[in-house]
């Protein structure tokens, strides 16, 4: 059997966006969208990044595949430091990684056929020289995402496809250069529940078959369980909890993770007779987040220390990390 091969390693990664307050002001502020994230992922495995909007998921995803350059920290891909690579090396890294975005309807040029859209990355990277080979690749990719018969779909325009079908094309485009790592940024949140599972199942099969690393970004905890080995819970630019998906769902430790689990709706007619106990309030602005625990303004368990010092990540159980003072030894 293939042993676990490390694909990706993040060390204390930070991505801050610079913003100026009014053009006369000399003071620069930062939106600390990703503020010290570490984790690692093996080849052919999937990790879920879960959190509310604005928690930094997209920024982290785009930083990992170097659509953004990090402010500090390191990204190690296949043993190679890619944190600040440029030019040809960056072009290579683009081939090794792929992105599927949330909105399938905005993802394709309306005047391009599906074939033409899929041909684009092949032309840019010029890895496949002949027209015949390109066509072969495109048909193979369409086959991989089950848009069959492929000839029927290849020559259609985006407006002729449903959201679910377009998202398959987006996946085909993400894998066409045979990458090793895919970031899928809320790939099903704009689709109906009835097709969500179909798309996620497809992604899962490709992950296993092509030994892809997948970073599955979602705000829906309920889907993580079927589609990822690992789960990272993000809040306001920090990773609050990380462990195997099973462990996070069965034995959630962080108060924020617990709140998310409670809040996730499940079909059950008894729900209407009870209220949900969820913390009030909203996530902090990332320009000036609390200096201590970022969840402290909303946390039902907060105590003195929580308002004074930022907790480090504690290993509460083997392989189960929690950024919360409740799990600190002191």
């Amino acid at each position: 059997m293939s042993s676990d091969v490390r694909l990706l390693e993040l060390e204390d990664l930070r991505k801050w966006f610079e913003i100026r307050r009014g053009f006369l002001s000399s003071k620069t502020n930062y939106v600390k969208a990703v503020d010290g994230v570490s984790f690692s992922l093996d080849e052919g495995k999937a990790v879920s990044l879960v959190g509310e909007s604005g928690s930094g998921k997209t920024t982290l995803g785009k930083t990992i595949i170097r659509l953004y350059e990090p402010n500090s920290g390191r990204i190690i891909f296949q043993g190679k430091d890619v944190t600040h690579i440029r030019a040809n090396e960056l072009k290579w890294y683009r081939r090794m990684t792929g992105l599927v975005q949330q909105d399938p309807f905005g993802a394709f040029a309306s005047h391009f056929t599906i074939f033409r859209s899929l041909e684009e990355p092949l032309l840019i990277h010029n890895t496949v020289k002949s027209k015949e080979e390109r066509a072969e690749r495109i048909f193979k990719a369409l086959e991989e995402v089950r848009l069959t018969p492929v000839e029927d779909f290849a020559y259609k325009y985006p407006h002729m496809l449903s959201g679910g079908q377009l998202q398959r094309v987006a996946i085909a485009r993400a894998i066409i250069l045979e990458p090793k790592l895919i970031v899928a940024d809320e790939p099903v949140s704009m689709l109906d529940a009835s097709v969500r599972i179909e798309i996620l199942t497809l992604l899962r099969r490709l992950q296993e078959r092509l030994r892809l690393g997948v970073i599955y970004i979602t705000h829906d905890l309920a889907t993580t369980r079927f589609f990822s080995e690992w789960a990272l819970i993000m809040y306001a630019g920090h990773v609050m909890e990380k462990a195997s998906t099973q462990e996070v769902l069965r034995n959630p430790l962080h108060p924020y993770t617990r709140a998310l689990l409670t809040a996730t709706p499940e079909p059950n007619p008894e729900n209407r007779n009870r209220f949900k106990e969820v913390p009030p309030g909203e996530p902090p602005a990332l320009i000036d987040p609390p200096k201590s625990c970022r969840f402290s303004p909303r946390c039902p368990h907060a105590f003195d220390k929580c308002f004074k010092e930022e907790p480090p990540e504690f290993e509460a159980a083997s392989g189960h990390w929690v950024k919360c003072w409740l799990y600190g030894r002191s």
Partner: protein
């Protein structure tokens, strides 16, 4: 608890849109009864006609209407027969109000939020501005907003706060029935749970009746005591929520429930293959037959009517009536 008084009955409601490509049969044969304090969840895939139903009930319609007919009986009176002026004066906002889909993004950027929440009172009820603004503030507080937010402009509020304001606006005229079209769908789960808690509390306090439109069956169960499933413009099942969630009957309803991933069970979610038909070019027979794994010859040629399984449980499927 629900008492016996029927506040809203809908019969044979039909709405078609006219387009260049043909007539869009967005809604047909819609029928249901609501008692006071009922919450009817209306569920179904994108494009099945949920928002069309919402707009048809409050008669807020686009210009390209082809057909709009049927009965909407409010406290015993068929309001479809009223002219627009009477409907506006006596029904819309006053008896039935609505939180439109995407309401939080529809506020006018140049007016303060409090004024916009008060607007239905000022315009439709001729209430004095100061009094209306006071009332707006009260309702915003009821929706869990700091009263001072009334002075803010839309861009100064988060999505969750704007959505609370949109709900406050729908409540300001003291309606009996409130239509909630995807009232939390663009929000985060914690914000969503907080707003659903408020909607529950307010319903009990003000004894409201809701029509709750959502594509999320989990969320529907947070409020609904009745569930109606729409597929391609027609209701395919309607029943008490208790029955629906434990024993959905229509193959489409079963597929929908099976597609919801759950945290509390080990069930692997399944999907419904295929996609809904175009409402311009509907399939023959049962509209669901191209995706149905139980379909047989009859399903392809004859359209089933609503079969009654129990007093309040109707299903549009040949498996439940009409002989083989």
């Amino acid at each position: 608890m629900s008492e016996d008084k029927t506040v809203l009955s809908v019969r044979d409601l039909k709405l078609y849109y006219r387009t260049k490509k043909g007539v869009v049969k967005a809604l047909e044969e819609i029928a249901f009864d609501l008692k006071k304090e009922d919450v009817l969840a209306v569920v179904g895939e994108s494009g099945c006609g949920k928002s069309t139903l919402a707009r048809a009930l409050v008669r807020v319609l686009p210009r390209n209407i082809h057909t709009y007919e049927g009965k909407v009986i409010l406290n015993g009176r068929n309001v479809m027969e009223l002219d627009e002026e009477t409907f506006r004066r006596e029904v819309r906002w006053k008896k039935i109000s609505i939180v439109f889909q995407g309401a939080m993004n529809s506020f006018n950027p140049v007016f303060r939020i409090g004024y916009q929440v008060a607007e239905p009172l000022i315009i439709h009820d001729n209430v004095e501005k100061k009094e209306a603004l006071n009332r707006a503030r009260q309702l915003m507080e009821l929706m869990g907003m700091p009263g001072a937010f009334a002075e803010r402009y839309p861009f100064e509020l988060s999505g969750g706060m704007k959505q609370r304001a949109a709900i406050a606006m729908a409540l300001i005229t003291n309606p009996e029935i409130v239509i909630l079209d995807e009232p939390t769908s663009a929000l985060d789960v914690l914000t969503q749970a907080n707003i659903i808690n408020l909607l529950k509390r307010i319903k009990n306090e003000l004894r409201l009746t809701y029509v709750f439109i959502t594509h999320d069956l989990g969320l529907a169960s947070e409020l609904a005591n009745k569930v109606a499933v729409i597929y391609a413009g027609k209701m395919v099942e309607i029943s008490a929520a208790d029955v629906f969630y434990t024993e959905p009957k229509h193959p489409y309803s079963r597929g929908l429930i099976a597609s919801v991933p759950t945290l509390s069970t080990d069930r692997t979610p399944e999907f419904i293959s295929g996609s809904p038909p175009s409402l311009i070019d509907l399939p023959s027979g049962c509209r669901f037959h191209p995706r149905c794994r139980f379909a047989w010859d009859k399903c392809r040629t004859e359209e089933p009517s609503m079969f009654r399984l129990e007093e309040n449980h109707l299903v549009r499927c040949w498996l439940y009536g009409g002989g083989k």
